[in-house]
């Protein structure tokens, strides 16, 4: 059975890498200059976070970060399906960012108390940066979620569409009992509960309605290597230059 630390790190790192790549696709296309900069900055942050986490995997005996990031195929990725979906329109990307980063901030706050000290150190660094992501998401969800009918309709549609995938952020793997028992992480159920409270609080300040999550079946599979048709093309594009000459020194 896979080392529980590696199992957790792959999930964390792959989420960061793939959403970082998706965020970068807004570069030059943002609806206003500030949002172009914001999504590009968050992309840069997420790639930095992925590098820190792949470096921990490397310390545990896995391949170099670049090799791990650029040479695997979709079936070897452990990201949730939420992060691999195309950027869609701005409402979709904003809602995905809101749902994802609320979970990430809580996740890394909890990880600061991890028994696996190298990960706790990385978490202490990342949580400060993630605060800005959540601040950014909350600002726009509150602002647009209380503005015109068109904005509210678009955001509500984005929420309905992304929520099943967001619930799969908390998909468990076989390593879950060991991760909790060894004090590496509080576990996905505890995280999901806190996340629901936090996103509900922000959404209640808007005209948006959170669908009843008990009636939704989460879009799971990502943590076990089952992905949408969108991941492989993303990986092909992301690794295109690297694969031309994997030994090149950039």
């Amino acid at each position: 059975m896979i080392d529980p630390k590696k199992d957790l790190l792959y999930r964390l790192a792959d989420d960061q890498l793939i959403l970082g790549h998706r965020n970068s696709e807004w570069n030059g296309l943002g609806p206003i200059l500030e949002e172009d900069i914001a999504f590009s900055s968050m992309a840069q942050d997420k790639l930095g976070h992925a590098l820190q986490l792949y470096s921990l995997l490397h310390e545990l005996g896995e391949a170099e970060p670049d090799t791990v990031a650029f040479t695997r195929n979709a079936g070897q990725f452990h990201c949730c399906q939420l992060v691999e979906l195309p950027i869609g329109d701005y409402a979709f990307s904003l809602m995905r960012h809101f749902l994802f980063d609320h979970a990430e901030l809580l996740r890394f706050e909890a990880l600061t108390a991890s028994s696996y000290e190298p990960l706790a150190q990385v978490a202490r660094k990342l949580k400060g940066e993630l605060k800005y992501h959540v601040l950014h998401a909350n600002t726009w969800i509150r602002q647009l979620g209380t503005s015109t009918d068109e904005a509210i309709e678009k955001l509500q549609a984005a929420l309905d569409l992304t929520l099943p995938y967001a619930l799969a952020l908390f998909e468990k793997t076989e390593a879950e009992p060991a991760i909790i028992a060894e004090g590496i992480f509080i576990g996905e159920d505890a995280l999901r509960q806190q996340w629901l409270e936090n996103i509900s609080r922000v959404l209640s300040q808007t005209a948006l309605e959170l669908p009843d999550v008990t009636t939704i079946s989460p879009g799971e599979g990502g943590r076990h290597g089952v992905h949408t048709e969108f991941l492989q093309p993303l990986l092909d594009e992301m690794a295109e230059v690297f694969r031309l000459d994997p030994t090149a020194d950039w």
Partner: protein, 159 residues
């Protein structure tokens, strides 16, 4: 050669994107140690984990050590003591102001919305300002606006 001498050499190394502040004043140089055999170790820590300037800064530190004849050295990046904007020295803060970049407000370790949104206008000193976007031209800067002198300005983000 003492650790203090090495720190004074490293004062030459500036942030490539904010060329008025040294890495020592920024708090990025964590520790310098000279081993009994003369080997010099320097520990650095990133301001933001995705900061693309960190590699340049590390190479600049290595270059300065070599220029001062310290061939036997190790420069490493560590998150052991994560960087906080509180680590920017008073001299560093003054240099940021003169560069017209609002320095990060000191905090007690907990960064709430009040701290994130607060900034002093580096042009007129007013506190009648507003956070426009937490993301600016580099990861470490946020965009603010001053209602008194009616200018946009950037702030070095509190972390």
């Amino acid at each position: 050669m003492t650790e203090a001498t090495i720190l004074s050499w490293l004062d030459e190394v500036k942030d490539p994107e904010i060329p008025v502040v040294s890495l020592v004043d920024l708090g990025v140089i964590r520790r310098v140690q000279i081993a009994p055999d003369g080997h010099v170790s320097v520990w650095m820590t990133p301001t933001f984990s995705g900061c693309p300037a960190m590699d340049y800064m590390r190479r600049d530190v290595e270059r300065v050590l070599c220029e001062h004849g310290v061939a036997n050295h190790t420069v490493s990046m560590s998150l052991e003591e994560a960087w906080s904007s509180n680590d920017v020295t008073e001299r560093g803060r003054q240099a940021l102001r003169e560069f017209r970049l609002s320095p990060p407000p000191p905090h007690q370790g907990i960064i709430d919305l009040d701290i994130l949104e607060y900034a002093e206008c580096p042009h007129c000193g007013s506190h009648n300002t507003e956070l426009r976007s937490p993301f600016g031209p580099t990861l470490c800067r946020a965009l603010h606006y001053c209602f008194d002198c009616r200018q946009g300005f950037e702030q070095f983000k509190p972390v």
